[in-house]
């Protein structure tokens, strides 16, 4: 067998985009001696074709005839350039290489099927450089150690990754005679992340069975009982001491978040906390489901791959809900360290926040865009406590038939795995994501990183939609954390299953039965198929080159039996697997921190403060990110993430039209403010709920059909003080849901977001609760956007401004935290939301924007520059509490439930009537002159700024 090497370069004189990007990244690292970077794509093709055919492949397929030239074989450094460094980046053995798969198929289309294709990237660095700098460049810019190998200046071809066939060798992991220390050692040695109580429970089980467990049995238990899959903390019993009083929960989740949903008992909630996503009614025929997941640990190690598989994974949740939904929108919310850190401020084992951010955005972009799902809503939040634990929340909404909300798995149905093949990727992802990170994790857990291929998932989606329409399967779920062990384990929970692991299609030889069972290889779904439908469904799948393989059968005895080539390798009771996990009783403590308000001087003019807040990372325009996402694919876009006269203002929420022939829309939003959590996570959580709901109301969402999702990202909750903050937030979720009559329909948590630095210091993320929300829009033609519309229109503020500067961005730019955190008025907030929603539905509102980060001043500035119009405002018209006398508080307080509303003069009476008995006041008017002018209580001008300058400040931070 011959290996052909083809190198593809840009033609001289044409822009080398990839090389240029690498060069600018090198400069960003502070290395200035490199003058130019050339990049090349490398293809290694194993095939017996003749040189003429190899030439054809290079010429017709691999190299662009206009922009590129190719070289058959290995090209040397460019002639006449002494200082050239050659670096090649190859994928590690076993890592998915989608380009290689496509090239294989394309060469086959040309008439010859090659035996193997691999791809690599080659870089030629021109200029003086030290070996240590080469290493830095390779590690920080060109390659990711986790999935790639770097070859510097080497002439030998990397070896073919042909792996040896696997020979069955059943491993027993004796447990029955171990003492506690032995149990802990076993758990640690095998990366099970099970604690000693859990290990004892397992020990008892196998003592009762009278035998030792096999490796696959312990691994299955570890996956199923992991925090990631089981939510042990949120479901545990908690004894909480809060400011001296005792509270007890038998099951924290059931008595807070879930309880609210049960009490509200909305008939439009079709399936909540029961399936892969929460399902609510959309219209008479259809339902929508929504799920938000996190993919934090993988994104910390491999930002691109981690976030791509994060979005890829959450898309499979709606696809695996009920009998399957068609994904219609993505959301993404990220938390990063501040991007302007110098390299030496970043702890060892941690990637630079800028690299993480660029990689994460690119990962979501490439996967979401390829799937053809619009990414319509998101937020990015910066705090240095996210430096080592970036948070990557990915959400997906799907549209489904109302009659297909339930699964119907039965004894005798076949277990069919559909989609991607299984490889060694993602082993131990579920247990890994439940663990604390350290500087050594990069190497230890490299195998936990999964590699995605969006096109494989798109193909799976395309055929599943057809098979679903044809009614050819009875149940579906996705292969996520825990791989087949979780998917089959969950589907067969009430039935039992027999699985023949050797039938699972593999990417390459050599995988053991346990690896097959727990691999988190991407783009796989599991469906339950009646034996008589197997042929028909396989025909549909094969018609679009998708593999579907029966690997077993659902049983009736509630036992999970795992076999390899007919030999049993594991057997467990489903009841033990799913209900055997010991119930925990945890201690939690909450004590109000002793904080005080800073003493900042009052000023005559706040232009500078406003400009600083506008350009602060959290508030600044995220257009750089948003435009990289396709937010219009599927044609359902109604309110886009960027709105206004120049299509660049910050929309409050997105509205999509899921069914192109129906005027009904879906509004989608989020809310989050970790800064408030440093004062009190209870008020933080309520502020998040209010913010998410405000955003829905602003665009015209219905107030009576709001569904919420919670995503808790916390530090290690084994510490009572940290668990205390989580309990506070969960209590707030209950109170907020009841107050707004807005049930939670789905949720997820990611705990243990801590990092142990080399010197032992621990970096803990702040309590971070993401609230995602969606609601219906009856008529998309009535939607409202936040940009000012017309000079002469009146501007109102609805909602009361209190002296609540604690955790505000105004304090943040002055390096203070404060104490007076915004406290949601649970009685007033829903009333304001309801009345405003009605006013918008009646067409009385020209524009509407909520006051959030940066308060009133930022909201006015954003409305003005988005609309290209000015504002004449007077704070005497601002509804405010008595203690809110300071001008800076009136401008920048972040009190909840406040909306700035633009109303045409002829609608004044009708609007005012709607707002009767609510705190509302006329703040001013919209003017043609492009200036934001705000007068203080005493009538003096305190902000007077050109909207062009405000907009520039807001846009320049991420003008990347």
């Amino acid at each position: 067998m011959r290996q052909w090497r083809v190198e593809v370069f840009n033609r001289p004189g044409l822009v080398d985009v990839q090389g240029g990007r690498v060069l600018s990244d090198i400069r960003e690292l502070g290395i200035t001696s490199i003058e130019a970077v050339q990049s090349a794509r490398v293809f290694l093709i194993e095939a017996d074709f003749d040189p003429a055919f190899a030439e054809r492949v290079a010429h017709e397929l691999l190299a662009d005839p206009v922009c590129e030239q190719y070289y058959l074989g290995r090209s040397g450094p460019p002639a006449g350039l002494a200082k050239a460094t050659l670096i090649e980046v190859h994928l590690k053995s076993g890592v998915t290489d989608p380009v290689a798969e496509s090239v294989m198929a394309a060469i086959a289309d040309m008439g010859v099927r090659p035996d193997g294709v691999r791809t690599a990237r080659k870089y030629i660095l021109l200029g003086e450089i030290k070996p240590s700098q080469i290493d830095t460049i390779a590690r920080k810019i060109l390659a990711n150690d986790v999935i790639e190998d770097v070859v510097i200046g080497d002439e030998t071809e990397p070896p073919s990754p042909h792996l040896n066939a696997y020979e069955l060798n059943i491993a027993h992991w004796p447990i029955r005679d171990l003492d506690d220390a032995g149990l802990e050692t076993l758990s640690q040695d095998k990366d099970l992340f099970l604690n000693v109580v859990e290990m004892r429970t397992i020990q008892d089980y196998f003592r009762r069975l009278g035998r030792e467990p096999t490796d696959i049995e312990l691994e299955t238990l570890a996956q199923t009982w992991s925090e990631h899959c089981g939510h042990k903390t949120l479901r545990s019993a908690v004894d909480m001491t809060a400011n001296g009083t005792q509270i007890h929960f038998d099951n924290l989740l059931k008595e807070t978040i879930f309880k609210a949903t049960q009490q509200l008992n909305k008939d439009w909630c079709l399936s909540v906390f029961a399936d892969n996503a929460g399902v609510v009614e959309f219209d008479e025929q259809s339902a929508v489901c929504f799920k938000v997941e996190t993919h934090n640990h993988p994104s910390a190690l491999d930002p691109y791959g981690g976030s791509a598989t994060g979005i890829g994974g959450v898309i499979r949740d709606p696809m695996g809900t009920g009998l399957g939904a068609r994904p219609i929108a993505n959301t993404d919310i990220f938390c990063f360290g501040t991007p302007d850190k110098s390299l030496d401020e970043v702890p060892k084992g941690v990637l630079h926040p800028r690299r993480i951010m660029k990689g994460v955005v690119a990962g979501v972009r490439d996967y979401g865009n390829r799937m053809g799902i619009p990414t319509v809503n998101g937020a990015i939040y910066f705090d240095d406590r996210y430096l080592a634990n970036p948070l990557v929340y990915c959400g997906n909404i799907g549209l489904m038939d109302r009659t297909k909300v339930r699964k119907n798995t039965q004894t005798g149905h076949l277990i069919v795995v559909v989609g991607g093949r299984t490889g060694r990727d993602g082993i131990h992802g579920a247990t890994f994501s439940s663990a604390q990170m350290t500087h050594e994790y990069e190497t230890i857990f490299s195998h936990a990183v999964q590699i995605g291929n969006a096109i494989t998932e798109k193909k799976v989606l395309d055929v599943l939609v057809q098979a679903n329409d044809a009614g050819l399967y009875e149940a579906i779920t996705d292969c996520g954390a825990g791989g087949l062990s979780s998917a089959v384990g969950e589907m067969a929970k009430d039935l039992g299953a027999d699985v023949d692991l050797e039938k699972v299609p593999l990417k390459y030889a050599g995988l053991g039965y346990t690896e097959i069972w727990i691999s988190e290889a991407q783009e796989r779904m599991v469906i339950a198929v009646k034996p008589e439908n197997l042929e028909a469904i396989q025909r549909i799948f094969a018609g679009e080159n998708v593999e579907a393989t029966a690997i077993g059968r659902f049983a009736s005895d509630k036992k999970l039996r795992l076999r390899y080539n007919g030999q049993q390798v594991g057997e467990m009771d489903m009841d033990f697997l799913h209900d055997g996990v010991p119930r925990y009783s945890r201690q939690a403590v909450w004590k109000q921190p002793k904080l005080s308000e800073p003493t900042l001087p009052e000023k005559d003019n706040y232009n500078d403060d406003l400009l600083r807040i506008l350009s602060s990372c959290n508030v600044a325009s995220k257009e750089w990110v948003i435009r990289q996402y396709d937010h219009e694919v599927q044609g359902g876009s109604v309110v886009k993430p960027l709105v206004g006269v120049a299509n660049d203002g910050p929309s409050d929420a997105a509205v999509v039209q899921p069914k192109l022939n129906s005027p009904r829309g879906l509004a989608i939003s989020c809310g989050m403010n970790p800064l408030y959590g440093d004062i009190d996570p209870y008020w933080m959580a309520l502020a998040g709920i209010d913010e998410a709901i405000r955003n829905l109301i602003c665009v015209g969402g219905r107030v009576d059909r709001i569904a919420l999702l919670d995503n808790f990202c916390w530090a290690n909750c084994d510490r009572p003080d940290i668990l205390g903050t989580l309990v506070r937030a969960a209590q707030a979720c209950y109170d907020g849901a009841i107050a707004f009559q807005a049930p939670f329909i789905s949720g997820k948590d990611s705990l243990h977001n801590e990092f142990v630095c080399e010197d032992g210091t621990v970096i803990r993320i702040p309590p971070t609760l993401l609230i995602s929300a969606m609601s219906l829009v009856d008529d998309i033609d009535k939607c409202v956007t936040m940009d000012l519309k017309k000079p002469g229109n009146l501007l109102f503020v609805v909602g009361r401004t209190n002296n609540e500067m604690g955790g505000s961005h105004y304090y943040k730019i002055h390096d203070a935290l404060g104490a007076n955190v915004p406290r949601l008025d649970l009685d007033l907030a829903p009333r304001i939301a309801g009345r405003l929603s009605a006013a918008i539905a009646e067409g009385l509102v020209a524009s509407c924007h909520d006051c959030s980060e940066g308060g009133l001043a930022v909201a006015l500035a954003e409305m003005a520059f988005a609309g290209g119009l000015g504002v004449a405002a007077d704070l005497r018209g601002l509804p405010k509490s008595r203690d809110c006398s300071r001008t800076d508080a009136q401008l920048f307080s972040e009190s909840n439930s406040r909306y700035v509303v633009e109303v045409a003069p002829h609608n004044y009476d009708a609007f005012a009537k709607r707002m009767l008995n609510l705190p509302f006041g006329q703040l001013g008017t919209v003017v043609a002159e492009p200036k934001l002018r705000i007068k203080a209580q005493d009538g003096k001008s305190i902000i007077d700024a050109d909207i062009g300058i405000l907009k520039q400040a807001w846009q320049r931070t991420f003008d990347w």
Partner: protein, 282 residues
């Protein structure tokens, strides 16, 4: 009444087939979404249709280069039926990834046989994928998909949309032989740098047509602007704001009705509400 039939070609990674089908139906055509494998299995299938659409997406992941793998499939499996389709006087439209496929298969700008020679589409100068709205100015009167006097406002969403020619001579030929269908311009109709020209295309070229004027490829997405509420700031504009994207489909449907259907002349066309402006023509 005989129907205008359109085929929207699916393949792994094609992801705008649903909204393209919807746009065609709004414009009065009967559209089917068909996987390329079906066409390869049954080459006669194409005969039933009047309009062939290569829609947008990321065919085969855009691996190797955007549209390249699907173009390779077209060249090796479908060149005869596609050539016959064009020679029969029928219409071909490539949108975004579909345009990339048409260029890389050599169907556009078109020449002797299917082979890519002088023109390609490559990475945006910005180095990244971008979704933004652009104005298009028609450059020729011979393409059946649009009215030469009418500027269009539509979105682009791509990472590889920069049109490049092999040399100046090739560019001259595109100009002189009328292959340039659209250029990127600003609201006043002037060419300019990024973001007016969102990808750095040579001569601000946004779309190409072949010698017949019946094959059109363009980077922007007309199927994403077939209703008023898809405009990026429709909430500022009146009820009567012009909906530009649908016009491309309406022109195609009208052309088929008037030229390819048997009872062409007497065809009533005013029944398609979405095409009001287009149908009211001469």
């Amino acid at each position: 009444m005989q129907e205008v039939r359109a085929i929207v070609l699916r393949a792994a990674g094609i992801n705008t087939d649903l909204e393209t089908e919807y746009a065609l139906e709004l414009a009065g055509a009967q559209a089917d979404r068909i996987h390329i494998n079906r066409l390869i299995e049954d080459k006669g299938l194409l005969e039933q249709y009047h309009i062939l659409i290569f829609p947008g997406g990321f065919s085969y992941g855009d691996d190797v280069a955007a549209g390249k793998i699907m173009a390779n499939q077209v060249i090796h499996h479908l060149s005869d039926p596609v050539r016959k389709f064009i020679n029969d006087g029928k219409l071909v439209l490539g949108i975004c990834n579909g345009f990339q496929v048409l260029v890389k298969a050599g169907i556009l700008p078109g020449g002797n046989g299917f082979k890519q020679e002088d023109v390609t589409i490559t990475c945006n100068d910005s180095g990244k994928y971008e979704d933004r709205w652009v104005y298009l100015a028609p450059q020729t009167g011979k393409c059946v998909f649009f009215d030469p006097g009418q500027r269009l406002y539509v979105p682009v969403a791509h990472g590889e949309g920069k049109i490049v020619t092999k040399d100046d001579e090739a560019l001259q030929r595109l100009r002189s032989e009328g292959h340039i269908a659209f250029k990127y311009v600003d609201a006043e109709g002037n060419e300019g740098p990024f973001p007016i020209n969102p990808n750095g295309s040579v001569d601000s070229i946004a779309g190409l047509t072949d010698a017949t004027g019946r094959v059109l490829g363009l980077m922007p997405h007309p199927e994403r602007f077939v209703r008023r509420t898809q405009h990026p700031h429709w909430s500022r504009l009146g009820e009567d704001l012009p909906v530009d994207g649908i016009k491309i489909f309406c022109h195609a449907v009208r052309y088929v009705r008037e030229n390819l259907l048997e009872s062409c002349v007497a065809q009533p066309t005013a029944d398609v509400a979405a095409c009001g402006e287009v149908q009211a023509g001469p």
